[in-house]
Symmetry: C2
DNA sequence: CGACAGATGCTTGTATACAAGTACTTCGCG
DNA sequence: CGCGAAGTACTTGTATACAAGCATCTGTCG
């Protein structure tokens, strides 16, 4: 009697009210898009008031973001958006390169035609001239995720995505000043053609070149404007009134 | 005025009282060591009472564990230790293999002698005959982490470790019935010798063989006793009184 | 004018009360 | 005896109150 019953996930979401999941996703998006700048002070009370909820869901969201490394919480002092840590950027670069290259190695002989079509459409959209920055990033994310799905490791992308928050923010810093999504789009094309053409070595080198280009772009922007990068990970940022001051 | 000041992490820990960090680590350890069996029901109230704290820190710990995939929380229904998900086990296997092999590729010419000595000592301890299961797992963890540190990617191990909870539990299931840490210890030796000997290809093949052996061990135990593995990820386990019943 | 001490306002951490909903139990009825 | 429906005990989600501590501002004294 009473076997396990299936649980409908939608019921937890369609409450209508903004739940913790919404708050977490919203805050995460704001951090990744630099709408919440690195080093900015986050007050649980202020966020709760501005979102129209109590401290509890805000606090729980901040705890999750802290575990991802996107937020730092100092007890009795304050919570802050993490400064972009070059070490974490390099770690994320290493991780994604290792995983994405290994995924290429495990591509099956016959590719999922639906995913291939999806990628082809994705690349077409990347070619559009009137492409906004966030739109490009979304397409970029979907493209790399799609390649992982071709290798049968679509779920592993979640782990990579969660670990590359610092890298994503660094990329946005770079592309803010130095628009060049067209170059990356062309590299995406090269990778895709090699994959569908079955040329594994070429796909590997193209992917490696692409990811390294992204990383070099970040290093360049770091030398250009280092104030948003973290010097020491355990350094408390300046307080709010001083932030207003600047 | 008022530049950023350094924050002493120890202050947040030496409160004496069991804080959320302690509770989180304790629960996580209990889940990984199967002291909390897959499928077991977790009540925030019961855990709070048994740990002598309120629901708040317990709840926040469960939220973190849920993000790691070790716990499933169903609103208004209950929280449960996740059943070992074969898909997540395979994902973790793919991830760690990709990362650890890539780390071998990035080994420097001159290895950190301190880490090498540490690894040598680690291997000596693995040889001891009176080795407990959890002791072996701790040494295994430290060994692989040490290899990553040699490649300069020690921090990446945190990401891998966080993602391989399901794989670790599957390993413990396997080694509970089928003691063979000696085989794995010998493989560790082989990897280590190839690394210090500078034989990169041999190190790669030895590592791959080792990780695949671990994975095959898991597949074997899954065929042997599948009741602790998840059939469908969104299936609610049986309720508490029924758990007492069985 | 300078420096030290207390007051104040902010922060996060924890405990508790309430809200909403599920699942099982039990009682009443046919 | 079978079955249905109200009731009860439990769950998690949220809001709120209190506790403890750091940083700054301010008042006072030398």
């Amino acid at each position: 009697m009473c076997r396990g019953s299936t649980y409908d996930v939608r019921m937890a979401q369609t409450n209508g009210r903004t739940s913790r999941r919404d708050i977490y996703l919203k805050l995460r998006q704001m951090v990744l898009t630099l709408e919440l700048a690195p080093g900015a002070a986050l007050s649980e009370n202020e966020l709760a008031a501005s979102l129209g909820v109590s401290r509890t869901p805000v606090r729980e969201s901040l705890i999750l973001l802290a575990q991802e490394g996107l937020v730092q919480v100092f007890p009795k002092i304050g919570s802050f958006v993490s400064r972009v840590d070059p070490a974490q950027v390099a770690d994320a670069q290493f991780l994604r390169e290792a995983v994405e290259l290994a995924s290429l190695d495990s591509l099956p002989d016959r590719l999922d035609t639906a995913v291939v079509a999806e990628l082809r459409d994705n690349l077409a959209r990347q070619r559009r001239a009137d492409l906004g920055l966030e739109e490009f990033f979304a397409l970029d994310e979907a493209f790399h995720h799609g390649l992982m799905r071709l290798g049968g490791h679509g779920d592993v992308w979640k782990t990579v995505a969660a670990a590359k928050g610092h890298l994503d923010r660094a990329r946005r810093l770079g592309l803010h000043e130095n628009v060049s999504p067209a170059v990356f789009a062309a590299q995406h094309h090269e990778i895709f053609d090699a994959v569908v053409g079955g040329d594994l070595p070429l796909a590997r080198t193209a992917m490696r070149t692409h990811l390294r280009a992204v990383f070099d772009d970040i290093e360049r922007i770091r030398a250009h404007s280092p104030e948003l990068f973290a010097a020491d990970a355990s350094t408390v940022p300046v307080r709010r009134n001083v932030v207003v001051w600047e």
